[in-house]
Subunit: 593 residues, 2 copies
């Protein structure tokens, strides 16, 4: 084998009239009147290689025998294509390589799908032959983009004195949070490690250890039911700092994101990211992760419609709820009654009992509920800035339900009405989170972030007496309607941490058993600290313009947590189970294999 | 809180006469005639802070109340110490900070051990309070060194077009290699993921996918019985390349190591690393990972002693074995009979049935077996370059046993006789490995590296007929007697890979079930490829001058695979087991908790 001179996709002017050696996969072979053209592909792109009888009969014959996905090595001269042959759609389209040597390094059967973008191939087949799927230019680009992203993140953090420290994957199962993946111990029968949902406690202990600034690009594990952008394992950019304020941590995070945007997208962001309280985000967008690429905010009509004789509105208000509206500008003509019924069903997923709406026409509001609103028409029109042709959509229920329903509806309408600037990257800090959510099913408070989040200093007193009103030193970074990451200052005194566990319903013994080592550490000079964790898969997905994190993960699992390629998970040998002191209690469903 | 100006350990000339703010832990408080001195510590080191009544009575009072491990913030002026007060043992020993402000950020109980190097604290206590142990300057330095090491590795690989690509941790259990850690699937009862022992197959498939150059600093898992430098999870610098020769891969590896040595140790290595075949390493050093920092090589005396009437030698030679010797120069007087008995027991661990030895004296060889060697004395003296005062030690057995016993003995004597230059970093390539080892217990061949290692082209034919004689395109990188890493070219044709599995005793069905996806991939244009994996923990350990990888791992497990801090592994709830469809078959040993 000769040494490669350059990647196929990087052949450019600087190689003109020079001899190069390329290695790659045959994308396509064409024979035009005794001249063979091979499109040769590697991770950086494609270049055209020409074989003609004048240059080398021998090479021509070998080239002629090549098929798609053969791996070859070719050597030849980079020349300019004739004007007529220039392909402006190809990065290397002005050039071709006139080859005099070719060697077949590996042959290939016809693959189960063509290695091209925009092929109609099922996700299952793509995952089963992932090594072929990743050859597609778009997927190769995604892998390159992800590498660039992590590289930019690391350089930024390295340059700012953060230490890259690894924490254990064989950790301890804790009762808070999602379901753990467990790892049975062979040496300690009946005992299990847990794969960490995040290295939260470890990174806090690294601050106690004086490491000052820590980061890790680290895998996290959650055994939850899967959704579009969830995987059993995912990657987090995990950051923790000592002695910094929430704003200082946010500023570092912005610096990190700016470094990525510049490196990966060539976008320079110089201004600080906007900040919004959690309450404002919920009020204006019905979401704690608002997509601020478009307006169409929620409008509170509770006051405006308080005297309207419409039972749905009245009931909501009487029960302490709200009435809010969206104004879909100019959308009246685009939504039929049938469409409106579908939107009604859609908001039902978020707990809304129905979707009231009116269209704004020359002679007033029209629609099923218009008759109830007659007396309030002018006020509603004024409050919603309504104009002829607008579609007004109402939510009337508790604050939570209205926010969830209209927040989701806003995102759906934003997409359907093409209000969203697809080239924009809108970053936003959502701050001042509530400390707790009330879990009605469990009948107790749960952490909105996690139990180590520091309450606002002024709210510490209320931890025991009025948990609902406690706000936290917590902040989320939001990008285009996705939660990109979340962070907080952490509790660094034993007193507050113990009160937090009590409020969450921990018995003293349970608290000691599960978190005793953290509580002990708080006794020995635990410094003020805080940090953030960013979802790397999601960040890379958004940078790549994809809508599923599978597209930026080399070997993802499918929706049933299976790797269709290697067929993991699989059954294991009786010896393996015997050594682990385990019995399987369920009937084996062999169709799962 | 004010902003920190500089780390305590980095206060130097450039801060002189300037006002600084420091944050850190109180190492020590001293009161000298109404003036309080606090040694303040952070991850970078220690600086002395002075409080006197002239500067601030208030600050002095607070400083006086501080105890060891309190976390404080101080502000003041950096001044030069008086000549008499200069502490040449401290990096910051010429300076001190005259403080006018102090704030206690966190108080501390008296820790279970003093935060100083060279404390006599048991490993178990150190691990239980790891967050305190890591505050010790040596451990903080180790963490910094490890960060620097990974940083240098990443920069080098980034600069050489390697893509950092993540592979799954929830992978498939495979029968080859060590014991897997298993992860039960909740969704697929009776099925298990396995934590990867290495991403070997994934990285090969990334080459099939055209990623060309891959690296990952990745956790690997082996459920093996633990030894001094083993942990259940360890970290590997995992590298794979396409289209390169073994020598080219080795050259990149050398570049990587050179970059680390320069960045971390300030040592410039410009010459290429020496190469030695596996056979030569075994012949000369009795080891496949020879420590070349000292000589004392094995000397083959099989020919020299073939007529000696000593039964042990005769039997070894008759059975096809060898007689070899070590000459411990000038060591005769340092080893008593009792010492020699101990060395005899030591080599017994490596299968030797005893240790024959003689001392070289003015009037010939002396010792228990000297009488047998009388006729061969001159030849033995000549062959071993023996001089008066030398100690000759003999091994007589099969090649394997003699190599193992004398190889280990050589390392022990090298240490005891202080032959080793502790400042040296001797890198060495050991190449041309045998493809297989014969596992007498299992009655079959096992891979010396792994089943994907490519045999030497000239030996492929012998895979089926004469496995023992097949050599591999495999190479290990050795540092100071430790295996730092191992790599190889890989098989890239289905034919050879199937033959390999056959030779290893796989039934066709088993081969298909376990490795079918790899075999399939070999059909679709699998390029020539190869790589290497380096043990990061071990590399960092050697760079730090430690002798256990625990010293360079933030949160290690103890010898029983337990984390004494968090008490992982632990028992889990019946609900968790129920959801996983598992029963525990063993009696629980609660003392393990």
């Amino acid at each position: 084998m000769a040494k490669r001179t350059v990647y196929c996709g990087l052949v450019d002017e600087s190689y003109l009239e020079q001899r190069v050696t390329l290695k790659g996969w045959v994308q396509k072979r064409r024979d035009l009147g005794g001249v063979v053209f091979l499109d040769l592909r590697d991770r950086e792109g494609i270049v055209q290689v020409v074989f003609n009888p004048e240059t080398s009969k021998e090479a021509l014959a070998i080239a002629d025998s090549c098929r798609s996905e053969y791996v070859i090595e070719v050597s030849g001269m980079v020349i300019k294509r004739s004007d007529a042959a220039i392909n402006p759609k190809m990065k290397t389209g002005e050039f071709e390589v006139l080859a005099d040597k070719i060697e077949i390094l590996s042959k290939a059967k016809t693959p189960p799908f063509t290695i091209e973008d925009d092929q109609q191939v099922s996700d299952e087949v793509r995952m089963k032959y992932r090594y072929l799927d990743l050859r597609r230019p778009k997927m190769a680009q995604n892998m390159l983009l992800r590498t660039k992203t992590t590289r930019a993140i690391r350089r930024y953090l390295d340059d700012n004195d953060f230490l890259d420290i690894e924490t254990p994957y064989l950790a301890k199962s804790t009762p808070e949070g999602a379901r753990d993946y467990l790892v049975p111990s062979r040496v300690h029968p009946g005992h299990f490690y847990a794969l960490p949902q995040s290295p939260q406690i470890f990174k806090q202990l690294l601050m106690a250890a004086g490491m000052d600034r820590y980061y890790q690009i680290v895998r996290c594990f959650r055994d939850e039911d899967l959704r579009g952008d969830r995987q059993p394992e995912f990657t987090q950019v995990d950051i923790e700092t000592t002695f910094l304020t929430a704003e200082e941590i946010q500023t570092y995070t912005e610096g990190l994101i700016q470094a990525v945007m510049k490196e990966v997208k060539g976008i320079e962001i110089t201004e600080a990211f906007p900040r919004m309280t959690w309450q404002e985000a919920m009020d204006r967008f019905g979401s704690d992760k608002p997509d601020t690429r478009f307006a169409m905010e929620l409008i509170d009509l509770s006051e405006t419609v308080k005297d309207v004789e419409f039972k749905v509105f009245q009931m909501a208000l009487e029960q302490g709820g709200v009435v809010k509206a969206l104004n879909a500008k100019g959308a009246a003509s685009r939504y039929s009654r049938k469409d409106m019924d579908q939107l009604g069903q859609y908001v039902g997923q978020f707990g809304a009992k129905g979707l009231a709406w009116v269209k704004v026409e020359e002679d007033g509001l029209k629609g099923p509920i218009a008759k109830f609103l007659v007396d309030a028409t002018d006020d509603i029109v004024a409050a919603t800035n309504a104009e002829v042709g607008d579609l007004l959509l109402f939510g009337a229920d508790s604050f939570e339900v209205v926010s969830a329903a209209l927040g989701a509806l806003r995102n759906r309408l934003g997409a359907e009405l093409e209000l969203i600037d697809q080239t924009a990257f809108n970053f936003l800090w959502v701050v001042d989170w509530p400390q707790f959510e009330y879990d009605a099913e469990a009948g107790r408070f749960v952490s909105a972030h996690h139990p180590f989040t520091m309450p606002k200093a002024s709210d510490v007193e209320k931890l025991a007496t009025d948990p609902q009103s406690v706000h936290a030193e917590a902040y989320d970074i939001v990008l285009n309607g996705y939660e990109l990451g979340g962070g907080s200052l952490r509790i660094h005194t034993r007193e507050v941490q113990e009160q937090m566990f009590k409020t969450l319903g921990f018995a003293p013994r349970e608290m000691q058993e599960q978190f005793g080592f953290l509580l002990d550490a708080l006794d020995y000079g635990f410094p003020p600290h805080g940090g953030i964790a960013l979802g790397l898969d999601r960040f890379a997905m958004l940078l790549a313009g994809e809508d599923n994190i599978r597209e930026v993960i080399a070997f993802p699992k499918n929706g049933r947590a299976i790797d269709p390629m290697s067929q993991a998970p699989s059954s294991v040998s009786p010896l393996q189970l015997y050594e682990l002191n385990l019995d399987i209690t369920a009937e084996l469903d062999e169709t799962d294999e």
